[in-house]
Symmetry: C2
Subunit: 145 residues, 2 copies
DNA sequence: TATTGTTATACTCTATAACTATA
DNA sequence: TATAGTTATAGAGTATAACAATA
């Protein structure tokens, strides 16, 4: 087996199709709360990588600073993110997640409220979970290219 | 190595982040033409699975028939998709890609105009391409759950 | 002058609801 | 009555452009 040398021509189509489905599914599932999928993603990044500015976040997510700014505004209004001025550069605002947010993230994970986490556990074997984790860097490289 | 038993808690965040980036990248790259990403995806599916109705396509993509209908309208106007009435059921319209479209798909692939195809070839080793292909069914199962 | 961030506006994609036509 | 498809409207997400404040 494994004699297929390059189905590569089919790969983009398959990937596009499954990404589309997955995206709609994620949007559908995340929107039940008061936060959008993008906003949840920003929180995850802030938790993982620590405080950052709007521009830095926008670059990291591959979107325009204005778009990121809109998301941040919502998160600040909800009290999940707070910004403090950079003492060295008055133009910049350092954004970080609030203790309330950190607590909320932990609690919702413990309660298995995260649809995606739940799906990964329920539908994928431990080995498949590992395979999926291994594919993430590949997707990252595609997104960066 | 491989002693990590369950980074699963980090997996959803990582996946969300990379999907977000990849989606924006894809949208950015596909929009240069006259077709949107969703529309390209529908063409790929019609090419792969053959003719289908709006409702079938909508279910397959995980979106509402109305949303799919809007996409189909554009594709019909562009002459890439044509619909013929089902002889057995006058309510249904069987959609299929036109010869022009099939030619166009082949030509653009031959010309390596597909950004995603190009990225996969340029940024991933043959083994990594295989790994990515192996991860697609896993993503499909997540999207279906 | 260059950069951070904001505001205003428009476009794309999808969803909900109401309607027509066929089974 | 149920199903296939259309039309109209609304909402979320992001992009572009123009602006204010700071470096």
């Amino acid at each position: 087996m494994d004699e297929q040398k390059s189905d590569i021509s089919a790969l983009p189509s398959e990937l596009r199709i499954v990404l589309g489905r997955l995206i709609r599914r994620l949007r559908e599932q995340t929107n039940t709360g008061d936060l959008s999928w993008s906003q949840v993603t920003v929180l995850a990044r802030l938790e993982r990588d620590g405080p950052a500015t709007v521009t830095t976040l926008a670059k990291a997510e591959g979107m325009r600073p204005q778009s990121m700014g809109a998301n941040i505004t919502v998160l600040e209004a909800t009290g999940l993110v707070c910004g403090s001025p950079d003492p060295n550069d008055g133009r910049q605002t350092i954004l970080s997640i609030t203790p309330v947010c950190r607590e909320w993230l932990l609690a919702s994970r413990a309660a298995r409220e995260d649809w995606l986490l739940h799906a990964i556990e329920a539908k994928l074997s431990p080995q498949e979970q590992k395979d999926l984790a291994g594919a993430i860097p590949l997707l990252q490289r595609l997104a960066d290219s």
